[in-house]
């Protein structure tokens, strides 16, 4: 075992910390789900990109630093330690990009990755539909062949698309083989949300801001150049993306270690002994999550894969995040209900409550753990 960081990694940490200290906005940006905040967050992404901090693990030619997993974790620790803004480009750079790197053509990568990394184009996911939530194979949105124009005509309805209100492009599954059932006959498309036939209806979330949207598609033309991977092969490509969402890519330990440390400060300023154990628990869970992630990185570096283990990961971080923020609100006492209170704890709490729901509900994750890891018979 070796839990030390190399000299090179420590230098990377120092460089990241120095840049973040000098550049992170002193005041929090407005919510990224307001028009003003969306622009401000994109401007922040541009600043990150210009300094090569937007996508540290990507290849140099697309603005990255070719950072390894450990360095990526270090960057994330520093990023959240510095109190830097949430990543408005997250669904693109963390969820979609790994899929585009793996399944996209060189031409598609060249066309989309630079603008994604620079925050110029914000990507939106198009998974859920009114009849396809946890049961994603029930997708009904369809794509019909348009041989004349060399592409497809998409119709249907996507819902709960984060950043959909102001975002630019959508990635998601559409049924290209109307005769096929369930996970067969689905194709992975990239859709320009400014295209003719697209209607976006903002949906205000618990915090009152339109964080996600419903996207209606009425005969929207998408050229062949925007099909990702093979026609009718969308399911396996999608699995690659949701694996990222549940697992390592979306939730680095830095995201929890930073608020856990702030929770300790909150307690020390105004101790409420009744909450002592909950505070200790939140800090320990964030620490345990960091260690668990180190273990995962060790496994990946030895050539292993994450697979269904990502479900264990997802249940843990999402429930930990809710508890951590609920504890903070209890520490605040009467001020816990204030939406304009200090520290953004209520916002954090409302955001955390989504965790056990999105990226596959925790009920589905527990089924996956039971069936795919423990080997129990499939639930009826």
């Amino acid at each position: 075992m070796d839990l030390e960081f190399t000299e090179q990694e420590q230098e990377f940490r120092r460089e990241a910390r120095a840049w973040l200290t000098a550049n992170v906005p002193a005041e929090p940006l407005p919510s990224m789900d307001t028009r003003e905040g969306f622009l401000a967050h994109r401007a922040w992404e541009r600043k990150l990109f210009d300094a090569r901090w937007a996508v540290v693990s990507w290849p140099r030619e697309y603005g990255g630093r070719e950072a390894g997993l450990t360095e990526w974790l270090i960057f994330e620790e520093e990023y959240y330690r510095a109190g830097a803004p949430g990543r408005v480009s997250q669904n693109g750079i963390f969820l979609f990009a790994p899929t585009l790197f793996e399944f996209g053509t060189r031409e598609q990568q060249d066309r989309y990755l630079p603008a994604m990394a620079a925050g110029e184009e914000i990507w939106v996911q198009g998974w859920s539909e009114p009849e396809a939530g946890s049961d994603l194979a029930n997708v009904r949105s369809r794509a019909e062949r348009d041989e004349e124009r060399g592409g497809w005509r998409l119709s249907g309805q996507k819902i709960w698309s984060s950043r959909g209100t102001y975002g630019h492009r959508l990635f998601g599954l559409f049924r290209t083989d109307p005769g096929a059932q369930r996970h067969r006959g689905l194709t992975y498309f990239m859709v320009d949300l400014a295209a003719e036939g697209v209607t976006v209806r903002p949906i205000p979330q618990l915090d009152g801001e339109p964080g996600f949207a419903e996207v209606f598609l009425d005969d929207v033309f998408v050229p062949d150049a925007d099909v990702l991977g093979g026609v009718d092969e969308g399911w396996k490509i999608m699995i690659a993306t949701t694996g990222s969402e549940r697992g390592l890519n979306l939730r680095s330990p830095g995201r929890f270690v930073a608020p856990a440390n702030r929770l300790i400060e909150l307690y020390r300023r105004d101790p409420r002994p009744a909450e002592r154990d909950a505070v200790v628990r939140a800090w320990m869970d964030a620490d345990a999550y960091r260690l668990f992630t180190f273990g995962t990185v060790t496994k990946l570096q030895a050539g292993g894969a994450i697979g269904a283990d990502s479900s264990i990961n997802k249940v843990f971080w999402s429930e930990m995040d809710v508890e951590l923020h609920a504890t903070a609100l209890r520490l605040l006492g009467e001020a816990g209900e204030l939406d304009d209170g200090d520290g953004g704890w209520l916002d954090g709490f409302l955001f955390a409550l989504g965790g056990p729901i999105y990226a596959g509900t925790n009920e589905i994750q527990r089924n996956t753990i039971a069936e795919r890891i423990l080997g129990l018979p499939r639930a009826k």
Binding site: M1, D2, L3, E4, F5, T6, E9, T70, I264, Y267, R268, P271, R276, D277, V279, V280, W283, M284, D287, A288, Y289, L291, F292, F294, G295, V297, T298, K299, Q301, A302, D309, I312, V315, F316, E363, Q365, R366, N367, I369, A370, E371, I373, L374, G375, L376, P377, R378, A379, K380
Partner: protein, 342 residues
């Protein structure tokens, strides 16, 4: 950065796992329940695999290893519910190696011809105090004594886990038994080794309870379907696995920290004891629930592992003790107490 055992460590662990699968069956554990002492002929065989001498220096015929290897092996001891006092003997041997290396005990323990037990400040119960050949006793004033059962008045107590032969120890220190003074730091470290070892065993116990119950849930058919196909049952067991998978790296890190005497070692060990203890507690509850009435019997093997888990949950500092230590470190202005008060 690498949070995993080395290949050599894994090889050693796997050897022990194979040995215990063969030589420590649940029938063997039950035999220990019925006997006056759990130290059996297996002790010599364990010595041949190297297990009794893990922390004993090589010049005394031990393996000269440390807390990482000890923890790895104790996970396997937990999985098998090994009844011998492997941990207690190792904690005692560590103190002997530091303060009484030439008293003759180390080579005997490494060879399996002797077993040791230990009583640290704050502990009132010693495992196998009557059958052990040597008792290492640390006192609150920092004096360290090496005694034999004959030097003590022992009163047998009954553990929930009948394979743990517990005794209260009435010991009158003498100049003859005193081997060192001012050993508080070493005693605190020994207590941490004990807590780490208990945590490691709790991991193995959790895994075993889960394995037993998964098999049962696959085979037990009610209303025409295996009970393991019900989501309510699946979620009980998934929750145990989640607890276990997050406790494992916490215990690994504690072994790493303690082996290197890092400043955070005490806190890391306390966290390991809490996480492994919670995993084992949840395993005991949920596995019992999934088994239903058959799990509530003495004849079913689940109880062997549940009871060991309950016993080790309170031994070497219960969750509250360890949480206090972490809270003092994280939240208090006073420095954390160096040793858990048992």
């Amino acid at each position: 950065m690498r949070l995993a055992y080395t290949e050599d460590q894994e090889l050693f662990r796997d050897t022990v796992r194979d040995f215990l699968a063969d030589r420590c069956t649940t029938a063997d554990v039950r035999a220990a329940w019925a006997a006056d002492t759990a130290i059996s002929a297996r002790w010599v065989e364990l010595a041949k695999v190297g297990v009794t001498g893990i922390v004993i220096p090589e010049e005394h015929d031990g393996l000269g290893m440390g807390d990482e290897e000890l923890a790895a092996v104790l996970v396997e001891a937990g999985r098998a519910a090994l009844p011998e006092p492997l941990l207690e003997s190792a904690v005692a041997a560590g103190l002997l190696a530091e303060f009484a290396p030439d008293a003759g005990w180390l080579a005997e323990i490494a060879a399996g011809r002797a077993a040791a037990s230990v009583l640290l400040p704050g502990q009132r119960l010693a495992v196998e105090a009557a059958a052990a050949d040597v008792l290492v006793i640390g006192l609150a004033d920092g004096d360290l004594h090496v005694a034999t059962p004959a030097d003590c008045v022992l009163t047998a107590r009954r553990s929930v886990d009948r394979s743990r032969k517990l005794f209260t120890v009435d010991f009158t220190p003498t100049a003859r038994t005193l081997v060192a003074s001012d050993t508080r730091r070493a005693l605190a470290r020994a207590a941490d080794r004990g807590a780490l070892g208990a945590a490691a065993q709790l991991l193995g116990l959790t895994r075993r309870m889960l394995d037993i119950t998964v098999e049962y849930a696959k085979q037990r058919v009610q209303r025409g379907v295996p009970i393991g196909s019900h989501q309510s049952v699946q979620h009980h067991l998934a929750n145990v696995l989640i607890k276990l998978e997050f406790a494992r790296p916490v215990v690994l890190r504690a072994a790493y920290s303690l082996a290197r005497d890092l400043p955070s070692a005490g806190r890391d060990v306390s966290m390991a004891k809490i996480y492994a203890g919670e995993a084992a507690d949840l395993a005991a509850r949920n596995c019992l629930q999934v088994h239903g009435a058959i799990g509530y019997t003495e004849e079913h093997d689940l109880q062997l592992f549940m009871k060991r888990a309950w016993a080790l949950g309170t031994a070497w500092g219960d969750a509250g003790v360890h949480r206090d230590r972490i809270a003092a470190d994280l939240l208090g202005d006073a420095p954390a107490p160096p040793t858990p008060a048992f």
